[in-house]
Amino acid sequence: MSLFWIVIRQLAQIEAMAASKKVITREEWEKKLNNVKIRKEDMNKLVMNFLVTEGFVDAAEKFRKESGTEPDIDLATITDRMAVKKAVQSGNVEDAIEKVNDLNPEILDTNPQLFFHLQQQRLIELIRNGKIEEALEFAQEELAPRGEENQSFLEELERTVALLAFEDVSNCPVGELLDISQRLKTASEVNAAILTSQRHEKDPKLPSLLKMLIWAQNQLDEKAAFPRINDLSTAALEDAV
């Protein structure tokens, strides 16, 4: 039986058990688990939701063919979205902006913070490539007005512009801006904004379910001793201490 099944059953079981106080043996527990009914269609939907939200287009396509589960959004839009995400992750911010605007011109117009972060990333890339002159001009033309339009961006703006002041950028106090993690952060932000605009929830459901499981287990822990799932990746039932 797949790990996923076990996890879901565990969750449903715990919710049912929460009212009573006792010690439950492994056999008892597993018996009750087996009696919990979960629909396959629901499981498939969860998997599809995860693949789609995270942007695994090919996997989603294959999964759709093999399981007959329909995705809740058009797979073609995932391709567009992934192209944007990839562009940011590779540092091609200007390209990413053009793609987002082709997808939906409203997104950047109604998300000043996202737009600022994209402009900020552009500046970072210019500095990373040693194009200092261009970077200075860009900071003046494009980033400074953002700070004028919106006071809350000033602090971040100052931090970014500080990069220009240092000879050895990788070792300066704001050096983390040059990390790849900064690109990933920005890419994630764009991804979420696109999902929201496509009327899709920006977070997949699966993590919420797992969080719910952990929480529910902790709650039940206060009232009973029962076999827990401590390692989510294996979904193995471990006896209570």
Partner: protein, 652 residues
């Protein structure tokens, strides 16, 4: 004046090229430059880019692939110019793009429809958008087709049109009858944007319209209402806020829906929690709170118990507050403290007053106005007024300065606060006088703006109440006799009423005070007399009579002057002014007239006997006798007193 960048000049040049490929490329470039960039938008608008793009839109052929692409890009550019930028909306409308965008809503190509719908939605978010005429049948058909559509951009546009243009109850009713409520309700189950748009447009239709609210509440056996209530718990803060606003509209328009304490408490808690949101939602939450509790004592009580005042105070202490937030919080506090003493006490004990005082000198006029309104509410506390809590320099000096503020609404709000503060039960108003308060107030009584005149006279009236002789003289000198007389005959009845109240307070007290009414050949008394004959508001007659009553409590000369005014030589019979007042349907008027007679017939006065004779001749005595059995207690008591006095002079 922004200098044109060499590259933008090039782009504009290519924009007007006859080669479509070049034109399309230029439009796309502009699009990518302006989206998200307010500065660039303004720059291109000034350079005149909008008409060129609008032209491209108008002349494109939607049947060809290339034409569609051109339309999509142009529409996106125009929509972006209009997004949140009023000059942009103006420029797009002036360039004549609107009818073309409407036309493209029925294009075959879905991308064209989407682009046009988005742009129109941006335009309709601005006040400058053209007003939609709900009275034209073909317009309503069009609107309903939008709401019925499967395309979210089109339903969003429909909702946007309603939010923008639906203002009167007739328009609301047209929308209801055409079935728009049902269409919008289905949007409550849709995506985030659909839900928000539905909530906002429903609130627009239901606002102040009990009929529409009843209809809504009955739909689907109340399921629609329950959906809205559910949405107050949504994970997105903007949705929660819009759901609350919708419920507030429903609650304020209906006497039977949403009246239980559970929903009231829920709304209060949700709005207070939304204050913590750092986005615009947090700003708007306090305004929503104000409309929830405004004028409703029960809600103010609930809010007090939910520690609303503490919460607002905590937010105020955050120094980097956006002016809009400050305004919202002070307005909310003004509503909270408008009726309940417990709220005012809490306010004062928390020392919120210190923050309020600094807000009086804020750069933004709206913040200053809100702070004054708040002070007006808090200064209704009689306990603190009589302790002289407000009559100190910290408060009075900035407040008096606001009387000459550039913004009229600030002046009016300051006057409101001053009117209360000067009802100081201590006779010493020197603080106020010393910082030039009287000069300012008197100056405002001459304003062209009637609300300024009204509130200034009101403040003076309150100030003169129980004031000592020196204070009265100071004010009287500053005002001058002739201006008092002209205020009594002001073009606005409400100003007349306050002016008479002012005189009433002037002449109340010592014998010397009564002399005020006789200054400069008695022009004030003449003016009072004139108003008594032809008053347009009941309150004016009442005030006027009390002026006479106060004067009649003076010496012989004063009493005779009143007799002369009430019974001029030529008049006779039962048509006298006093007689009419005694017969009035309004008990307050009867009471005031009775008081005059009480004061005129005080037995100790030398001329009392002659006055009684005269009163008898004019049939007043028999009227008074009948009034001993008046239905109103106040009237009865005065009539009895007067009659008793009259009787002591012999038979009646």
């Amino acid at each position: 004046m922004p200098s044109s960048h060499p590259s933008s000049d090039l782009i504009l040049h290519r924009l007007s090229s006859s080669d479509y490929e070049i034109k399309l490329k230029a439009i796309r470039e502009i699009k990518n430059q302006i989206i998200g960039n307010r500065t660039k938008k303004l720059s291109y608008i000034k350079l005149g880019a909008v008409p060129s793009v609008a032209d491209a839109l108008a002349t494109a052929n939607s049947d060809s692939d290339f034409g569609s692409n051109l339309i999509v890009q142009s529409a996106a550019v125009l929509g972006s110019f209009a997004c949140g930028v009023d000059q942009g909306v103006r420029a797009v409308l002036d360039a004549g793009a609107f009818p073309h965008l409407i036309r493209f809503l029925s294009a075959a190509d879905e991308k064209v429809v989407d682009a046009a719908a988005r742009s129109l939605r941006m335009i309709y978010q601005s006040k400058l958008a053209p007003k939609f005429d709900f009275y034209k049948e073909q317009n309503m058909d069009f609107l309903l087709s939008l709401l019925r559509s499967e395309n979210e951009n089109l339903t969003g546009l429909g909702a946007g049109v309603i939010i923008h243009s639906c203002e009167t109850s007739d328009e609301q009713n047209i929308l209801c009858q055409a079935g728009s409520l049902e269409k919008l309700i289905s949007g409550l189950d849709g995506s985030i944007n659909q839900r928000d748009a539905s909530l906002e447009s429903l609130a627009t239709i239901l606002k102040n319209n009990p009929e529409a609210v009843s209809k809504f509440a009955e739909l689907q056996n109340g399921r629609a209402l329950r959906s809205v209530i559910e949405l107050t718990k949504d994970r997105y803060s903007r949705t929660r806020l819009l759901a609350c606003l919708c419920l507030i509209c429903i609650k304020n328009s209906s006497s039977c829906h949403l009246q239980d304490i559970g929903i009231k408490t829920k709304l209060i808690y949700i709005l207070l929690e939304l204050l913590d949101d750092s986005s615009q939602v947090g700003e708007e939450a306090s305004f929503a709170f104000s409309s929830l509790v405004s004028g409703k004592e029960d809600l103010q009580k609930l809010a007090f118990e939910a520690n609303a005042i503490d919460k607002f105070y905590n937010h105020l202490q955050n120094c980097a507050l956006h002016p809009k937030r400050l305004e919202g919080i002070f307005l909310a506090l003004a509503e909270l403290c408008s009726k309940l003493e417990c709220c005012r006490s809490k306010f004062i004990s928390l020392q919120v007053l210190n923050l309020l005082i600094s807000a009086l000198t804020h750069d933004e006029a709206n913040v200053r106005t809100a702070a004054c309104k708040c002070l007006k509410s808090v200064s209704r506390s009689i306990k603190n007024l009589s302790a002289g809590y407000f009559m100190n320099e910290r408060i009075v000096i900035p407040l008096v300065r606001l009387l000459s503020d550039l913004s009229t609404s600030v002046q009016v709000a300051a006057l409101g606060a001053i009117s209360n503060i000067v009802v100081d039960f201590t006779p010493d108003k020197s603080t106020f006088i010393q910082c030039g308060g009287i000069k300012e107030l008197v100056q405002l009584t001459k304003s062209m703006d009637s609300s300024l005149r009204l509130n200034a006279v009101w403040s003076l009236r309150n100030m003169v109440f129980l004031a000592d002789r020196m204070c009265k003289e100071a004010i009287f000198m500053e005002l001058t006799v002739s201006s008092v007389a002209s205020l009594i005959c002001d073009s606005e009845p409400s100003v007349q009423e306050q002016a008479l109240g002012l005189v009433c307070n002037f002449v109340d007290g010592c014998m010397d005070c009564v002399e005020f009414a006789f200054a400069e050949d008695g022009i004030i008394l003449d003016a009072v007399g004139r108003q008594l004959w032809k008053f347009s508001k009941m309150e004016i007659g009442i005030q006027g009579m009390y002026v006479l009553s106060n004067i009649a409590s003076g010496n012989e000369f004063h009493k005779e002057a009143i007799m002369q005014l009430l019974f001029p030589q030529a008049e006779n019979g039962s048509h006298s002014l006093l007689s009419q007042y005694l017969q009035s349907n309004d008990s307050r008027l009867r009471t005031s007239a009775a008081w005059v007679i009480v004061n005129l017939t005080v037995p100790a006065s030398p001329g009392a006997f002659d006055r009684v004779v005269k009163l008898r001749n004019f049939g007043i005595v028999s009227q008074i006798k009948r009034m001993i059995s008046d239905s109103c207690m106040d009237v009865k008591l005065r009539a009895r007193l007067a009659f008793g006095q009259i009787n002591s002079f012999g038979d009646s």
